[in-house]
């Protein structure tokens, strides 16, 4: 990763110095070693501050809305999974292609500091990934932990190391975490529950929500200029929960609004301060779309129409589709 960081700094400085771009979107060091933050760079001299390591989970693509609306050309470093978000923004006509310079940036999976801490590491000074292992340097010495268990949830479902959009690529592609099994396993487990149990599960899950809107604000598919849930005249504009119904509304409708556009980046669940399992809603829609309307991956390209704005004359009837899937 250090090598890539060096390449990034050089590339960013070069692009800015040439005037090829007005801004570079990358990550900057935070207070600690694990809280790298998204940052804009406008000056080639500042590019030495760019960092890249196993703690750069944020998908930078949504910041393109800011640069694109101001007419600024921006270079953006994109991990393979981040490229899906850019395609989606392009498809939704939210950014201008000519104002984006996409730089594919290799990634081998991002780490979750909470998982490292939970694994028992105290007084952590440094964390480094080496192959399948993570070397954690603590005040009390070094410990080695298996990397697969410390990956962010979203990286466990890695979509692979292909860039779906890139004007250039940095270095060699890295091997990404290999996901074995069924990515819809968790969705299926809920589907198999009896209705009362499902209801209880979602009540418990959604009542954790504090309506901070972080999930919406980070989502590359949530790009409405005025969200229905912010509209002062809307009867559903609840800032706060009075009872779980409001959270159900917010999350069901949000998941519905992004259905067919959700690229499955997993950022919503990652940023949720309350740990709501938001991915389970989005994954359900993805699974249904695949089942009812044929396989589809949002953000895989910038042209294929989303299933919700498309149709076939011989689509299943609503009741048949749903009942058939229920196995009735």
């Amino acid at each position: 990763m250090r090598k890539i960081e060096k390449l990034m700094r050089e590339k960013a400085a070069e692009l800015l110095a040439d005037g090829a771009v007005d801004r570079v979107l990358a990550w900057r060091r935070g207070e600690f070693f694990y809280d790298n933050a998204p940052a804009f760079f406008a000056d080639a001299k500042e590019c030495e501050q760019i960092v890249y390591d196993e703690f750069c989970p944020a998908n930078l693509c949504k910041y393109l809305l800011q640069t694109s609306s101001k007419g600024l050309k921006a270079a953006v470093f994109l991990k393979p999974c981040d490229t899906y978000g850019v395609n989606q923004l392009l498809k939704d006509n939210r950014i201008k292609r000519e104002l984006v310079h996409a730089v594919g940036t290799p990634c081998s999976g991002m780490l979750d500091i909470k998982k490292i801490k939970t694994a028992g590491a105290k007084g952590i000074i440094k964390v480094e990934a080496a192959g399948d292992e993570v070397i954690v340097t603590t005040a009390l010495g070094e410990i080695k932990l298996p990397k697969a268990e410390l990956l962010l949830d979203k990286c466990r479902m890695c979509k692979g190391n292909e860039y779906k959009i890139a004007d250039e690529e940095l270095g060699e592609k890295l091997p990404t975490p290999v996901f074995v099994g069924d990515k819809f396993a968790a969705v299926k487990a809920i589907e198999a529950m009896p209705p009362e149990e499902k209801f209880a599960f979602w009540q418990q899950e959604l009542s954790k929500c504090i309506r901070c809107n972080a999930c919406r604000d980070i989502c590359p598919a949530c790009t409405c200029e005025q969200c229905i849930f912010d509209h002062p005249e809307s009867p559903v504009a609840g800032k706060a929960y009075a009872d779980p119904v409001e959270e159900q509304f917010f999350h069901i409708i949000r998941a519905y609004h992004v259905a067919g556009r959700c690229v499955g980046c997993g950022e919503c669940a990652r940023v949720c301060p309350q740990g709501v399992k938001l991915g389970l809603l989005n994954m359900k829609f993805m699974k249904d779309i695949n089942t009812f309307f044929g396989p589809y991956q949002a953000g895989a390209d910038a042209v294929t129409p989303a299933p919700q704005v498309d149709y076939k004359q011989n689509d299943y009837e609503v009741s048949i589709a749903v009942a058939g899937k229920r196995g009735k």
């Binding site: 069901i252 249904d288 149709y311 749903v322």
Partner: protein
Amino acid sequence: MLEQNNTYQPKIVAFCCNWCSYAGADGAGTARKHYPANIKIIKVPCSCRVNPLFILRAFARGADGVILCGCHPGDCHYTTGNYFTRRRMTLLLSMLDYLGVAGDRFRVEWVSAAEGARFAEVMNNFAAHIAALGKNVKLRDLRCAK
């Protein structure tokens, strides 16, 4: 208030498209076909106009069942509106089922302008179905219920 008489009457909201199903309801009336009075019809320009939020709000504000009626696929006044409805509502119904909230209280039916009798039949069936399910207590807004 309905419960006071101890005869439970479910509250049902029916979204009907202007061109087929609403005309179907008219047809049912002209033909003196009876359907329950507790079905409140809301006319929409096209079944495609119905946002999933409408359906959730109907449940939250006290509906025990919601039915959406539009033209038969292929007959949409706007050519393709109901094809989109079909896809959207498939997803919504499946999601309601997934949440364990109201999967069996929501139905989509196609009723043409000529099918007055069918309109009555569909509504009678649905009303009986909802009556058998009883009161909706899950997606209710608790503040309304007070």
